[in-house]
């Protein structure tokens, strides 16, 4: 076997030989191949991820573990992370998406947390096959989530031709654990057993991570197809229950899920993090197929497996739990003092002998230029702004009915969003609100990934992704506890793609720093490109916040007639990156950059309003701008209510700009005066309309646009047909 065959470069191979002081044998080389792949080593992104803020008052576990952990209160902690399954979902959408859900759930379970919620972020192309792909991906997400019994409580979807052959399937999972529980992949002690639990190992997904997810797609990818694996949510459920029951006994040293690169990655990471070694007995690994080679056993990505580290005198107790749940399980090795990963059979025990600090810790990282972070900030594409002069009634409908804006019910109704009976606000709201049975506090969960904004100005798009989720939490007065980021981009070896990636991360880092929210974990998926066309750099940001009144969320639509409507937003709006622009402008122009200082003040004020102002409703302005936000508030309001808005110039910009930092507030006239008076100077807030009893939505500009409820409901539900 050559280094090229396992996906390594000549430099990397030389580096391995230097570090090892010898030439690795075939098996060893194969293990290096997967662990030093982009997917497992983060070699192109690690130095960029270092820019992200990781610390905060609520952080219990930052990046580096299977999932981040933050503190909800004294008793309850929250584990959460986002993961992508982009390539597998293109090759086999149902199974690819399903195993993506299974994979991220196992990460949460590996932290000793019981999953309570899922959120999905999807991107599809605009051609015909993309529609089938979407249908199948949604089927897959539901097939796993519904069956294992974890509700999908929120999510988002977006479209663009750049995703035609590179759909994105990012899934975030959230779990809860008691505050005193401390289990991770770091506690393995010499003498303890490696207990492999779950599905017997087959030839599934060999090279899934190293090849499929670390190379570009092109004409010649057909032969990679057999590497797709099948998800078994039934076994996933048994494995989840058994693992959590085992963790609960307090008898385990450590837990590590098996994901990309299977046993290789799981064991290498585990012994590396625990600063120990291990002897693995390949003859003891339960296999589904005969005659599997050591290489295949070590690299198989068979799903629904978990590695438990347990001291010999506790083995019986743990095995009893596995037996109750009828899970196959077997001791496949032992933790050793000497930090060496030794893999072999009883006949030939030392077929691979590797120091974990080289295998898991020495992959050379792509250097980042000293001015890398500044460069992203400074690259402001300049283009004449798009400024339409007329105003047409039809535009509003066309934007509301656009694929990006219209109702997501056809997707989220295929997910169980209510199981576990915590969902106070589900997917028919812009963010989810969950009660937590062991706490008076609840969870606010939001996910956004505005790729279109990053198309021309990734720095701005990165900032916007963070600003969006925090804005959503602000409307509930929820305190952000932490963020998880899913980075999706093209081939990092291309200079232009890497520049974009730098700018995207600089944007995320600057925004999360300025808004004071740490990033506790995430995922990076690169090589999302087909035949040389990369996707838009797409940052999917998930946020978890502490909600102090989860049983009474702040409404997102007006409740009565006679309420004032207030608009909050920045002075400079701009149509760059908006849906309106994508529909009516001959070209895309850059998304407006947020003023982070000002944004922080707006968010602080909105958060305090949500917590203290009586009788208000709040909504963020997002895709489709004010027009869509107002329409959706209107549709949600009691049937007889109407809304009348007075629109000032520049009307079109104001109606359709998607700039961050914009909110709608619905308040009673008594509160309005106080609200305006007490708003900080840095915040622009104007009364722009009232709720009425006429049952219609009207915008009064130089002409009046009048929309009936029926027409808006139909457009939102079915799209606009002209």
């Amino acid at each position: 076997m050559t280094y090229e065959e396992v996906g390594l470069t000549a430099e990397e191979f030389t580096h391995i030989c230097d570090q090892m002081g010898r030439v690795p044998n075939d098996l060893e080389l194969g293990l290096f191949g997967v662990l030093w792949s982009e997917h497992c080593s983060y070699k192109s992104s690690k130095n960029l991820l270092a820019w992200l803020p990781h610390d905060g008052p609520a952080v219990v576990q930052g990046p580096g573990e299977n999932a981040g952990v933050v503190q909800l209160d004294d008793k309850v902690h929250v584990a959460f992370k986002v993961e992508s399954h982009n390539h597998p979902s293109y090759v086999e959408p149902v199974q690819g998406a399903a195993t993506g859900v299974g994979g991220i759930l196992r990460d949460i379970v590996a932290m000793g947390a019981r999953p309570v919620a899922l959120a999905d972020s999807l991107r599809f192309g605009t051609d015909d096959p993309s529609q089938h792909l979407q249908h199948a991906v949604v089927e897959g997400v539901g097939a796993y989530g519904n069956a294992i019994g974890i509700p999908t409580v929120t999510g988002e979807v977006g479209y663009g031709a750049v995703y035609d052959k590179n759909p994105l399937v990012n899934v975030m999972a959230v779990g809860l654990l008691p505050a005193q529980r401390k289990i991770s992949a770091r506690g393995a002690r010499p003498g303890s057993y490696l207990l492999l639990v779950g599905q017997p190992t087959g030839r599934d997904g060999i090279h899934g991570a190293s090849l499929l997810a670390s190379q570009d797609f092109g004409e010649g990818t057909e032969h990679m197809r057999p590497t797709v694996q099948v998800g078994d949510p039934f076994m996933g459920k048994l494995l989840m229950e058994a693992t959590l029951a085992a963790v609960e006994t307090g008898l385990l040293d450590a837990v590590q899920d098996l994901g990309a690169a299977g046993l290789t990655s799981a064991i290498a990471e585990l012994v590396y993090r625990s600063q120990v070694g291990a002897q693995v007995w390949l003859d003891d690994v339960p296999c589904r197929e005969p005659h599997m080679t050591p290489y295949e056993i070590m690299l198989s990505e068979t799903q629904e497996r978990m590695l438990l580290i347990v001291a010999p005198h506790h083995l019986e107790a743990i095995e009893a739990i596995m037996n109750h749940w009828e899970l196959p399980h077997r001791v496949i090795g032992e933790v050793t003092e000497e930090p060496l990963l030794v893999i072999g059979t009883r006949d030939n025990p030392r077929q691979a002998v590797l120091p974990p600090e080289i295998l898991a810790g020495a992959c050379p990282l792509k250097p980042v230029p000293a001015n890398g972070r500044d460069k992203g900030r400074q690259l402001v594409p300049s283009m004449p702004a798009f400024k339409p002069l007329t105003l047409e009634r039809e535009w509003g409908l066309n934007v509301l009915g656009a694929p990006e804006c219209k109702s997501r019910a056809p997707i989220y109704q295929r997910y169980d969003s209510m199981i576990l009976t915590n969902t106070v606000w589900g997917p028919d709201h812009p963010l989810a609100v969950l009660r937590v049975k062991d706490s008076t506090a609840g969870l606010a969960i939001a996910v956004r990934g505005p790729g279109r904004y990053a198309a021309l100005d990734p720095y701005s798009g990165g900032m916007a992704a963070v600003a969006r989720v925090i804005s959503l939490l602000a409307t509930q007065g929820a305190q952000p506890l932490g963020l998880t980021d899913g980075i999706n981009a093209g081939n990092p070896d291309r200079e232009d793609v890497f520049q974009d990636l730098m700018a995207l991360l600089a944007g995320i880092a600057d925004a999360s720093q300025a808004l004071g929210v740490p990033v506790t974990g995430g995922n990076v998926s690169l090589h999302n490109e087909t035949s040389g066309h990369p996707i838009w750099p797409t940052a999917v940001i998930g946020a978890v916040g502490r909600h102090s009144c989860p049983l009474e969320p702040v409404p997102d639509a007006p409740m009565a007639a006679g309420m004032d409507i207030l608009w909050v937003g920045p002075e400079d709006l701009g149509l760059g990156g908006s849906i309106f622009e994508s529909l009516y402008s001959p070209r895309l122009t850059p998304y407006p950059r947020a003023n982070l200082t000002q944004l922080a003040e707006v968010l602080a004020w909105v958060t305090s309003l949500a917590r203290t102002a009586p009788g208000i409703a709040l909504r963020t302005i997002e895709e489709g701008g004010l027009f869509v936000a107002m329409s959706r508030a209107f549709i949600k309001a009691p049937e007889k209510l109407g809304i009348t808005v007075k629109a000032d110039d520049p009307v079109v910009e104001w109606l359709f700009s998607e700039a961050v930092g914009q909110f709608l507030i619905f308040s009673t006239p008594e509160s309005t005066a106080r609200l305006l008076e007490e708003s900080p100077k840095s915040v622009t807030v104007r009364v722009v309309g009232q709720t009425t009893l006429d049952g219609a939505l009207q915008f009064r500009a130089h002409k009046t646009l009048h929309y009936s409820r029926e027409e808006l409901e139909r457009t939102f539900a079915q799209g606009y047909r002209g």
Binding site: V91, G202, R203, D204, V228, Q229, V230, D232, M235
Partner: protein
């Protein structure tokens, strides 16, 4: 002319079949001496074609393009004699 086709779709041997696995287990619990239950699809359809060969060819094409996923499945196509 209308032809009745049967397309049998089965998991490739190395592909995990969780439904088959669980069914095996339950049949064994019920006392049957069975093993290796694999659950595939049997698809029946009617196709308009000039002759049997063309009907078969259309069937194979549909199987390849839609009815089976070559990533994980194999298929056979046959014409049902009237």
């Amino acid at each position: 002319m209308t032809f009745d086709l049967i397309v049998n779709v089965a998991w490739k041997e190395e592909i995990l079949d969780p439904a088959g696995q669980s069914t095996t287990k339950v049949l064994q619990q019920m006392g049957y001496a069975v093993d290796n239950v694999r659950i595939g699809k049997q698809i029946r359809l009617q196709v308009e074609a000039q002759d049997q060969d063309r009907a078969l060819e259309a069937g194979r094409e549909m199987a390849k393009r839609l009815l089976a996923n070559p990533v994980m499945e194999t298929y056979t196509v046959q014409v049902v004699e009237a």
